[in-house]
Symmetry: C2
Subunit: 138 residues, 2 copies
Amino acid sequence: MILNKTTEYSLAVLGYMAVSQDDIFSAEFLHHELKIPRRYLRKLLTDLSKLGFILSTKGRNGGFAFARPLGEINLAAIIKTVEGSELMESCILGHQSCKEEQPCVMHETWLEAKTKMLEALSNTTLHDLRERKKAKSD
Amino acid sequence: MILNKTTEYSLAVLGYMAVSQDDIFSAEFLHHELKIPRRYLRKLLTDLSKLGFILSTKGRNGGFAFARPLGEINLAAIIKTVEGSELMESCILGHQSCKEEQPCVMHETWLEAKTKMLEALSNTTLHDLRERKKAKSD
DNA sequence: ATAAAATACCACCTTTTTGTAGCATATAAA
DNA sequence: TTTATATGCTACAAAAAGGTGGTATTTTAT
């Protein structure tokens, strides 16, 4: 496993919202578009708003919209925030004591692997996704 | 989550065996050294031998030893094999239909991220770990 | 032969993750 | 002010992952 379902869903939701023309999305609409289980999605959207990515509007024409400029949100940040940032710090072998001074046998390789991966993910913001989408449809 | 416990344990076991001087290891010994739950470890070792990384010897002085030269086993291969290789192929959004021709919005970035990560992991074999360990203790 | 020390198999328990249900609350259109 | 359509909260159910236990089987030192 690389990412769990919840993280996958989070990326799918925010990615979809980013490349879409609309700017407010109801849970029901996103459920229909993304095939994420209705109730689970609603809870996830609530969580994402608590985490500061989106904000919710209640009432008849309510829904969810981005809380911050798209350029400020990169993919690594989404993953780290949703998963609770056990990403950068964690040792591949799960050792508590694995640090630079007293590294595990795989420390060096794992550090390089995750650094490279996170570099790629931090280099892409939701704004970038939107631009790419635009470029394609031209 | 990046890797699940089972994968973490697999890397810990094979990594430990690789850098150690011995060449046969009982489950009980590995349990003691690595603090992996006794029974779970035994099942895991059975699995790892079915997957072809190690081979088991029954009986009084039995245990587990590598089935192949250390230089042939790299870290990416361990992860892929243990996790069932949903690693390279998988779409970050979990889409079945996500391919080069019809990519999801994050396809490009995700491909780069996982490629970079797997590059680093495939570049390190168990033999490399052993050499690094030796170099340090000199 | 026999007992010790190892793996192998099968079923079950616990914890975490994922998914569901009901009801409460808020808001805007009519 | 009523009603339709949203989200919010709390608790629970199902599935997957992680972990345990008992017993059988294999092998080798004694």
